[in-house]
């Protein structure tokens, strides 16, 4: 068999293997295929004098197959240059120093995950405790309150989110109305679309949609901001200067969101109902005037208030998780991504869980 890289001559007593040409990272895959076919039933004489060019990949391949052949038969290598010998010596050392990859047993990884969850939970309690202490300190010493940062975050998380919240709420309102219209039209109960839209938006969907959008938008931003500051040691620098990160970073974000989220919910309620109004007009030919009249009759203030009560709770959940996850970022860039994902997943889940809790409480209270 012949190729540009490897030839072999069959002799009675031995096999002469002749390497030639380029043994480099580019040609190694082809050469390996050839080497696999080399029979090992006889003594091998391996002549490497024909190799014009070689690199570490080529030499590693040589070492690997040399050792493989040696297991079956006697091998004699001839014709190597001092440079090849040097490279061989260098690589053969590192090859045998390799540590076998650590295999993790299923139970071991399960245990680690459980312990991880537990310690996450404990850390979160610590975080909440620190936040509470700082909040208490700021309430008793109002001059320590970071007004400027808080206003900045109200702008960032509140005002800047108006567009996306409005658009989302409008579309959700439309979808509810369209879906409801089909069903209600069957009964000729067209006008009840106003009840459906009005109550579902103010009581449930307005707060929830807003919270979910903000969790994705601001919760993730909080995690990434604080996480990046942790990696660049800015948080450590703050601590050495006596700037408590809970007061400078956490509290302004939590307070800002507690202020901004209810306002956004109020906005989402209006735009959501307007979306429903537009859809009802298109589908059921209910005019805006009829819609508003009916809305005035059926939408009690309590539905709006019950929806608004959720706002500060959702805001606290989102901001607290966002900041907590930021502090959990460790010294590598990968963990920013992991923590940001965890932040959004945790806060959306908790928003929905709290929403369910509210529903149960409201129902039990007969509201």
């Amino acid at each position: 068999m012949n190729s540009a890289y490897l030839l072999y001559e069959d002799h009675e007593q031995y096999l002469k293997l002749i390497s030639k040409g380029e043994w480099t990272i580019k040609t190694v895959p082809q050469i390996e295929k050839l080497l696999q076919k080399v029979p090992t039933d006889r003594k091998i004489i391996w002549d490497v004098s024909g190799v014009k060019l070689f690199d570490s990949a080529g030499v590693l391949l040589f070492i690997e197959y040399l050792e493989r052949f040696q297991k079956h038969t006697e091998v004699k290598v001839v014709g190597y240059t001092p440079k090849q010998q040097e490279m061989y010596n260098l690589l053969v050392k590192s090859m045998h120093e390799s540590v076998p990859p650590r295999e993790e047993h299923f139970l071991e990884s399960l245990g680690k995950k459980v312990v991880g969850l537990y310690s996450d939970f404990r850390d979160f309690l610590t975080f909440l405790g620190e936040t509470m202490i700082t909040a208490f300190h700021v309430i008793t010493h109002p001059r320590f309150f970071r007004l400027k940062e808080t206003v900045y975050h109200i702008y960032q998380s509140g005002f800047s989110a108006l567009m996306i919240i409005g658009l989302t709420a409008f579309l959700v309102g439309m979808v509810i109305a369209y879906q409801g219209a089909v069903q209600l039209a069957k009964f000729g109960a067209d006008i009840f679309i106003v009840d459906t839209v009005g109550i579902s938006i103010t009581r449930e969907l307005g707060p929830m949609i807003t919270a979910i959008v903000i969790a994705g938008r601001s919760g993730s931003a909080y995690t990434a901001e604080i996480g990046a500051m942790k990696i660049t040691e800015e948080i450590a620098a703050m601590r050495t200067m006596g700037f408590d990160p809970y007061n400078f970073l956490v509290l302004p974000r939590i307070v800002a969101l507690i202020i901004a989220l209810p306002i956004l919910i109020f906005f989402a309620d209006i735009v959501g109902i307007f979306g429903g109004m537009v859809a009802s007009g298109l589908q059921l030919h209910i005019t805006f005037g009829m819609f508003v009249d009916r809305l005035y009759e059926v939408l009690e203030v309590k539905h709006y208030i019950l929806g608004m009560i959720k706002g500060p709770v959702f805001a606290f959940v989102i901001a607290a998780i966002g900041c907590f996850r930021g502090f959990k970022v460790s010294d590598n860039t990968e963990s920013i991504g992991l923590q940001t994902t965890a932040s959004v997943v945790n806060s959306i889940f908790l928003v929905i869980a709290f929403d369910a809790l509210f529903s149960v409480i409201y129902t039990e209270l007969g509201l």
Partner: protein, 262 residues
């Protein structure tokens, strides 16, 4: 009379889970000296410094800084102490959302009642003091080179005219000329402001030229503490490897021997 001790570390033990980093570390830093903390990577130099500046708590032992016991300190005392030192982090740790001038001004703004004009003048002075051009004050950290970041961070560390300066590898990542200038700057500041400097360093040039006393951390202990002569007498394997290799012999020790002969 023995000089005043600014920092005293006594029998410090640090453990992270099952890993022991320090097992009875003792050292002290005298007033007005430039004190080096040396050791191989992983020997807990940074951890020790973090314990001094209250970013970490030792598992056991006592650390006294400027007369305060930082392992048992009230919130108010801790806040006071934090205004009396400056810290230069290895990578600067400038606040990326603020300009250089705002970074330097921040503590002045928070902790003093100085007028805006006076604050700005102070900031300009600090910027000039560390050898930066005046226009650098208006730049954001992301617009600075590595050397400028270190200088700006030093200016920030000096903002409150601290008595004590902590430097974490101040010359790492600087070019040789920049590193020597930085060394010179540290000596000048010490002479000018009478501060005490504690620095973690690997830089042989700094060790041989500006460090007065040093501690070598290895095997969880301080294996030797003192000036260069004392340290060179140690036969600990790390000291042997670090100071008595061919490179150091040729570049520095020959010089020292020659001086001693004279």
């Amino acid at each position: 009379m023995s000089p005043k001790r600014v920092i005293e570390v006594k029998d410090v033990v640090t453990r992270f889970g099952e890993r022991t980093i320090h097992d009875g570390v003792n050292l002290h830093v005298n007033e007005h000296e430039i004190y080096g903390i040396l050791g191989e990577s992983g020997s807990g130099k940074s951890v020790l410094m973090k314990e001094m500046i209250m970013l970490l708590r030792p598992t056991a032992g006592k650390i006294t800084v400027l007369g305060y016991d930082v392992t048992d300190i009230s919130y108010e005392e801790a806040q006071e102490l934090r205004r009396e030192w400056g810290v230069l982090f290895q990578f600067g740790a400038l606040y990326s959302s603020l300009t250089v001038a705002e970074n330097i001004e921040l503590q002045l703004k928070e902790y003093t009642d100085l007028s805006k004009q006076l604050r700005e003048e102070l900031v300009r002075t600090k910027i000039a003091m560390v050898g930066l051009a005046p226009h650098v004050g208006a730049l954001y950290p992301s617009e600075l080179s590595g050397g400028m970041i270190k200088r700006a961070a030093l200016a920030r560390a000096l903002a409150m005219d601290p008595k004590l300066l902590f430097l974490d590898e101040p010359t790492s990542g600087l070019d040789p000329v920049g590193a020597r200038n930085f060394d010179k700057l540290i000596v000048e500041l010490r002479e000018l402001l009478g501060i005490t400097v504690v620095m973690i360093t690997h830089d042989l040039d700094s060790i041989f030229s500006i460090v007065d006393r040093m501690a070598v951390l290895a095997d969880k202990h301080v294996v030797v503490e003192g000036d260069l002569k004392n340290v060179l007498q140690s036969t600990h394997p790390f000291v042997e490897a670090f100071f008595k290799n061919e490179y150091t012999q040729e570049k520095y020790l020959g010089k020292i021997k020659a001086e001693n002969v004279q």
